[in-house]
Amino acid sequence: MRLTPGAGRDIDLDSVDLFDLDLYTSGDPHPIWDVMREKAPLHHQVLPDGREFWSVTRYEDVCRVLGDHREFTSERGTVPTHLGTDDVAAGVLLTSTDPPRHTEVRRPLGSKLTARAVKSWEDSIRGTVTRFLQPALDGETFDLAEKALLLPAMVTGPLLGIPAKDWEELVQLTAMVTAPSDPHFLQGSEAATLAISHHELVTYVKDWVKERRASGGEDDSLLQHLMSVRPGGEALSDEEIALDGYSILLGANVTTPHTVSGTVHALIERPEQFAKAQADPTLIPNLVEEGLRWTSAACNFMRYAVDDVEIAGGTIPARGAVVAWIGSANRDSAQFTDPHDFDITRSNAKRQVAFGYGPHFCIGAPLTRLTLRVFFEELLQRFGSIDLAGEPEHLRSYFIAGMTHLPIVAEKRLTP
């Protein structure tokens, strides 16, 4: 989807289709969300097949829906692609589990992923990022969006315990999960694409665990850690390990690439911001926060109302699905002044909710922040200028806001 909105236009909220994939491939959702925040902060839509959902778009309402599991449960599914079908992995898959079980399992997993814990990975990440960026400086066109799809696997592969030979296949599978109808990833039908990718990812982790058990080998990897934690005094079941491993693979692979390419695109469009960051590298951590706010790669998450609930001036009925639009919350002018300006010096950029909010706040956030900081440090140190070398193409998904192609040409920076 376009991250810099086009000119404002008349929008009829009654006929808006938020699940229209063309809106995200070639359209412009931000002007629609702007009107929704102002005029219909609780919006109701019925799909042609009868399924219905409510939407919240304001910052505070998005935080409330994501943050309060008593009112809004995750246990019937959290991804709008599955609207109307209760999650078969409820209570097993961590993202589809409410506290207290969620807290119990998450705590030991999170201990491996705190800012302090991931700090020891910085040198290895810097090496990976340097290798990743090198080919972009040979003077040829470099498709950043396409290449960046592999970056999270390059960074997290060793941490997870996944050998390099498997990265490309896993990246392809995780991309299928998030954009099953994008022509880059579609296999047969959308339903078949989802099932194939879920199946193969879960099986991959199951086989990994089986092999590890058989060989008796142990290492310091995150998947190994999943096998050894004992939340509530008991080891995770094989199904829990497989599904949580799947979830970690997915979370790492499908969001970070789009924040990388979307933020670089914003810098290409705004050479003055690029120059500012290059002149003062201490701005880079804030550039990262602004890039996260700007790109909001996880565009939304879904919850189900437990009981009738009053929110945003209306009522969501018990068992109703509600989509919390993170991409919109991060452009709420009540929270961010001139929200559609990309400003690397924005004072409260860190209040962005790109990682979500509340109990399900992204477990990989510290690792992502570290990776993005290192990425932009290396990019700004090595690249004198970056230009577009073709039209960006956007991902066909209402769940993940991203790009499939961003052709760039870069020039080496002469005097660092």
Binding site: D49, V88, Q187, G188, L194, A195, H198, V202
Partner: protein, 104 residues
């Protein structure tokens, strides 16, 4: 995501004769019918037709994993994950099993 059963174009090589073949246990139940019964068991459906659509019946990857395991166990054929979900009906899954046996 559409919930109506789909008519699926037949793959090359598929013909009606596969339905009439004698199944593993020597019973006369056609293979496609046996697969339909296996699906019914895993999908909690009272009845599944040989041309019913897996996804329209509420099938997902977790049921798919169980069904593919059962097929491997009962028929000695390891179905490819992709082929299974793209086949989408018991009749066509039966055809995949026949092909798997022919190769083996």
């Amino acid at each position: 995501m559409n919930s109506s059963p789909q008519v699926v174009h037949q793959l090359g090589g598929l013909d009606e004769t596969s339905e009439a073949q004698v199944a593993a246990g020597g019973t006369q139940v056609p293979l496609a019918q046996q697969i339909a019964e296996l699906w019914a068991e895993h999908l909690n459906a009272s009845e599944v037709g040989t041309d019913d659509d897996f996804f329209a019946l509420g099938g997902n990857s977790l049921t798919g994993i169980k069904i593919i395991d059962r097929v491997a166990q009962d028929y000695g054929v390891q179905l490819s994950v992709r082929d299974f979900y793209l086949a989408q009906t018991p009749a066509r899954v039966a055809e995949l099993i026949e092909q798997g046996r022919a190769v083996a």
